[in-house]
């Protein structure tokens, strides 16, 4: 990140307070004249110039001579006034200069620098007329590398850690098969497209509810908080993915804001975070229940893989059939018929759904040496559902049911004729 580039983010935005402060002391009619004219007086004791004129002329000279500059120095005596303005000095081993950073500009810094930190300050050399103090009006401040960003990150991380918000025990498990997932992101972003693609491919039965918000720039943090809150308490949302694609440190910065971190922690349903690329770890990633390296990976963590669920169902079907086969000969006959029912049912699906079912049907076929037994067998069942094995279990005039390969037949006992009786 070059100093120039960082400045361009703020270009043309005068700090709200800076102008009023300057105007209050500079609006004399003299200030519209050239310095030589304004200093026409003051050459002899008869025509002295007022102090205010001297100071405002000096200030205009300084501001007219120096274009805004980057100044390197060490921060000392950093002080935050009640107004939100920051007052401090920049110094090196031989000199120092008083500095002011107005509240509107200070707000754009990730955090305040630490005492003694070496920084580059960008600003206008000026003079504060009321005090006659020469000073630098700082518009932007950078520490070496990503020093201030890192510092802000560390400060917030420590604060949240002390509160226990990063405790692994707080992490909630994701539902195994969510019915509906919420996504908080920019509706036009590639992150959303990537997630929708993966959800469709892996778990087409899953519904998605998108809540649009800005994911970078001033005010994005507030929008993200509000989106999390709205979606989090919306009925039927099982988990939320909070995401955006890659970007610069400044672009991703709203994911390091304290209010966003707290909104994630307070979300009533589990939150999966996927911000930027794998190397970009944000505060939100630390607070979220699960951190995904990319938006696509978030989708893979959020929904199960349909193919493996189907395979699991196949194993269950096979397990059921195998289990019943162990019941012996009678059981085997029934298993054969029930298995046939299952097979017919699955074949119907196979016709409809094609190749997806092929594996399952093949598996079931392989498991059915018993199906040759199926033709002509039926199981009589009492109204309570117990198997009627002997003539003694039937009574004339009583109802019973016959379980046949494709359903039930309701019957009535006309006559009971045990073997050998005539």
């Amino acid at each position: 990140m070059s100093p120039r580039r960082q400045f361009s983010l703020f270009e043309g935005r005068a700090p709200d307070n800076a102008e009023s402060v300057l105007e209050s002391v500079s609006e004399t009619e003299n200030s519209l004249m050239d310095p030589p004219e304004r200093l026409a007086d003051g050459k002899d004791p008869e025509n002295p110039i007022p102090v205010s004129t001297l100071n405002s002329v000096t200030r205009d000279l300084l501001e007219g001579t120096f274009h805004p500059l980057w100044v390197l120095g060490e921060v000392t005596n950093w002080r935050v006034a009640a107004s939100g303005h920051r007052y401090f000095s920049l110094r090196d081993d031989r000199a120092q200069i008083q500095c002011v950073l107005f509240q509107g500009d200070a707000r754009r810094l990730p955090t305040d620098p630490e005492e003694g930190m070496e920084v580059c300050a960008f600003g206008q050399v000026s003079l504060y007329p009321q005090r006659g103090r020469y000073q630098l009006i700082v518009r932007n401040l950078q520490a070496k590398g990503e020093g201030l960003w890192r510092l802000a990150f560390e400060r917030l991380r420590r604060a949240l850690q002390d509160e226990g918000l990063l405790d692994p025990a707080r992490k909630r498990p994701l539902p195994v098969v969510p019915r509906r997932i919420g996504i908080v992101t920019s509706r036009g972003g590639a992150a959303l497209r990537d997630i929708l693609t993966i959800v469709r491919r892996r778990a087409s039965w899953t519904s998605v509810l998108v809540r649009d918000c800005r994911v970078q720039g001033d005010g994005a943090g507030v929008e993200i908080c509000s989106a999390l809150e709205t979606l989090g308490r919306h009925p039927g949302v099982d988990l939320i993915i909070l995401t955006r694609g890659g970007g610069s440190v400044e672009d991703l910065w709203c994911f390091n804001e304290e209010n966003v971190a707290r909104a994630v922690a307070a979300c009533p349903v589990p939150v999966v975070s996927a911000v930027g690329h794998e190397i970009d770890v944000t505060i939100v990633d630390l607070v979220a229940d699960v951190r995904a390296p990319t938006p696509s990976a978030a989708a893979e963590m959020a929904v199960p893989d349909g193919d493996s669920l189907r395979a699991r169902m196949q194993r269950f079907s096979a397990g059921l059939v195998m289990g019943l086969r162990r019941r012996g000969r009678d059981g085997a006959k029934r298993a054969g018929r029930l298995e046939e029912r299952l097979r017919v049912c699955m074949s119907r699906r196979l016709e409809r759904d094609g190749a997806r079912w092929l594996r399952l049907a093949e598996r079931l076929d392989a498991l059915s040496p018993l199906r040759t037994l199926r033709r002509g067998y039926a199981v009589p069942l009492s109204p309570e559902g117990s198997v009627l094995r002997t003539t003694g279990m039937f009574e004339k005039g009583e109802d019973f049911r016959l379980r046949v390969s494709d359903g039930m037949v309701h019957c009535r006992t006309e006559r009971v004729e045990p073997d050998g009786s005539k």
Binding site: S186, V208, G245, M313, L320
Partner: protein
């Protein structure tokens, strides 16, 4: 069909239990048959969810009254002013 989410996760757990029960020698034939029928019901319910349900993609917007409202998500309306390029940058 009851609430499919609960249904699915419960169905998986039930199937685990039923298959384990069928594998044990503790239960009688009648019980085994009943368990088998129950298992088939669960398998069918789960398959119905996997194969027949089609998830919707919707957007939660806030109406002028301040009420949240679900509407069909229309990606064509999307304006990409976010600078967000997903996984691909």
């Amino acid at each position: 069909m009851p609430e499919p989410l609960d249904d699915f996760e419960t169905a998986l757990a039930e199937l685990e239990r039923i298959v384990a029960a069928l594998d044990s020698d503790e239960i009688g034939l009648d019980e085994a048959m009943a368990l088998f029928e129950e298992g088939i019901l669960h398998v069918n319910a789960a398959n119905r969810l996997l194969e027949e349900t089609r998830g919707k993609v919707e957007e939660l917007i806030t109406k002028s009254t301040g009420e949240p409202n679900e509407v069909e998500f229309d990606p064509s309306e999307a304006e990409d002013d976010s600078g967000d390029d997903g996984d691909r940058s």
